[in-house]
């Protein structure tokens, strides 16, 4: 934690990547962390090849939640929805580096939780999936 607020974390906090909205997203989800009021919305656009062609996030909150979501948007471009739905916490831990205290883990994981729920929500509405 001592050196958690590294240069690149602050950079993503103050200059978030892929921040904003998509015109016609394929999958959307949002959630908040009621403990601290952090809010994140994720919008995913799946291309003809089944891979995520574009992504936007919006929301407000602490540097950890916002930087973590910003970095995640860069990580999930080019992945399929199934891949996003099955992402583990490791992707966030690799992005933000080590040293998040347990009390702040929920902040760091909020973007991932929302991205996964967007992907899962879209997968769940596919006819072949709904039949199983």
């Amino acid at each position: 934690m001592d050196d958690f607020y590294k240069e690149y974390i602050l950079d993503h906090y103050r200059n978030p990547r892929n921040f904003g909205h998509l015109d016609k997203p394929t999958a959307v989800a949002e959630d908040l962390n009621p403990l601290c009021g952090d809010k994140i919305k994720m919008e995913l656009l799946v291309g003809a090849d089944g891979k995520i062609a574009d992504v936007r996030f919006s929301g407000k909150g602490c540097a950890i939640s916002q930087a973590s979501a910003s970095m995640l948007t860069e990580s999930i471009k080019g992945k399929t929805l199934e891949e996003v739905a099955h992402l583990s916490h490791d992707v966030v831990l690799e992005n933000v580096g080590i040293g998040i205290s347990p009390t702040r883990m929920k902040c760091a994981m909020l973007g991932l939780k929302v991205a996964k729920s967007a992907a899962l929500g879209e997968i769940a509405t596919w006819p072949d999936e709904a039949a199983t």
Partner: protein
């Protein structure tokens, strides 16, 4: 002028063993979150150990010696709490788990019995969820209307249209001191007007009774709710004060053991006050320790505690003022004398949670978030605030540590 008061606070801090224990990083513990929960003096901790190791027994029924001793101590604690807020009778003090449960008790009993369509409940825009959610639910169950006294940006209440708001109001439920802004409700002005309009007054005193002299008879409030853990007592114990005639006319809240006089297969008669409202085995140990906390605070002197908190708040506001140039904004009334020992603030673009994490590295404990007052945060358009809160053991050295840690946060976030 400040020095003697601060020297006494430093001596008082020595009564609180946790304040002498360094953090895992070897820092001095700088506890600035007493509005969330206070620390406990050794005397209160000793009371718990003494009960469990010397006279642990159930109350109101055992005929043996330690049961009698437990019962006496339990009821003596009730009398101490009654004296602490100057209630006319011990029977007007009902033990609850906390402020929230005390407010719910009134909502579920008096509220369900007395409110209906066409009636109104009047609260304020600065309430903690504990004094808001129960009234929202009561309104939806009874068809009563929920109204709000408007608050200015510093948390002070707009009373110009109070008489109009009181028309049809049966209950005014408001906090004495705001847990976010520290603003103090002028009860001496509001209570007589509420009574003149035929309304009762319930006061959420979670942030006032621990910090200043409060006299329920002088204020003439009808109900008053308090948590022990914010005033040096253990968690899990609080109380509801209610005027005797009101409590006697109210139906019981929770029912079962201990709150009955007679039970037959088809009917039950209830115990007298205060036990009518205390179903099941009470929180005996914590109630007794609550009595010790009242003794402890009375020995220090509530007037002194109030004076100390005004001085330490003034000192903190003075030390924080130079940060304004770098984007630190303090909320609440400008003058320390007009507020409780609570300062909510935001610092430039540092989110309150990040600030709290950075301060924690130096052992400085502050609260960050919505402070269980989401409607107020929305009204003010604050996603979150940081909050430092003070008590009888808070010293100038604690404020200096806060200021030093804020400097560090400014460095980390490159704020110049």
């Amino acid at each position: 002028m400040i020095a003697p008061v601060d020297a006494r606070a430093a001596a008082i801090a020595a009564d609180f063993p946790i304040l002498a224990k360094p953090t895992s990083r070897g820092k001095r513990l700088v506890y600035l979150d007493s509005a969330a929960s206070s620390q406990k003096p050794q005397a209160v901790i000793d009371t718990l150990v003494d009960y469990y190791s010397s006279y642990n027994a159930n109350i109101h029924r055992g005929v043996y010696e330690i049961a009698a001793r437990a019962t006496d101590a339990f009821e003596a604690a009730r009398a101490k709490v009654a004296r602490f807020v100057n209630a006319a009778h011990s029977a007007e003090i009902i033990w609850t788990r906390n402020t929230t449960e005390a407010i719910n008790l009134v909502s579920f009993t008096w509220g369900m019995q007395n409110l209906g369509p066409g009636d109104a409940i009047l609260t304020t825009q600065v309430e903690h969820h504990s004094n808001l959610v129960p009234w929202q639910l009561l309104a939806s169950k009874t068809g009563a209307q929920l109204r709000y006294i408007q608050a200015r940006d510093d948390g002070t209440l707009v009373l110009d249209d109070l008489d109009a708001l009181l028309a049809g109001t049966k209950l005014v439920a408001l906090s004495h001191v705001s847990n976010v802004l520290g603003s103090i409700a002028p009860l001496e002005a509001i209570v007589p007007r509420a009574h003149a309009a035929g309304a009762l007054v319930l006061v959420d005193a979670a942030q006032s009774v621990p910090h200043m002299p409060v006299d329920v008879q002088a204020l003439d409030v009808d109900f008053l709710a308090v948590s022990g853990h914010k005033m040096c007592a253990p968690t899990g114990i609080g109380f509801l004060y209610g005027k005797r005639a009101l409590l006697e006319a109210m139906p019981p809240f929770l029912t079962g053991g201990d709150m009955i006089r007679t039970v037959a297969y088809d009917t039950t008669t209830f115990a007298e006050l205060p036990w009518k409202f205390e179903a099941g085995t009470s929180n005996i140990a914590d109630a007794i320790a609550f009595g010790t906390a009242c003794d402890y605070l009375s020995n220090v002197g509530m007037a002194w505690i109030r004076e100390h908190e005004i001085q330490i708040t003034a000192y903190a506001l003075e030390r924080l003022a130079p940060f304004a140039a770098r984007g630190l904004v303090c909320y609440g009334p400008a003058r320390a004398a007009d507020r409780g020992g609570v300062i909510s603030f935001n610092f430039a673009d540092i989110h309150a949670h990040d600030l709290a994490s950075i301060l924690d590295l130096d052992g400085v404990c502050i609260r960050a978030g919505h402070h269980c007052a989401m409607p107020l945060m929305d009204k003010m358009n604050w996603p979150a605030t940081a909050r430092a809160s003070f008590y009888l053991y808070t010293t100038e050295a604690d404020i200096d540590a806060l200021v030093a840690a804020l400097e560090k946060a400014a460095e980390v976030f490159k704020i110049s």
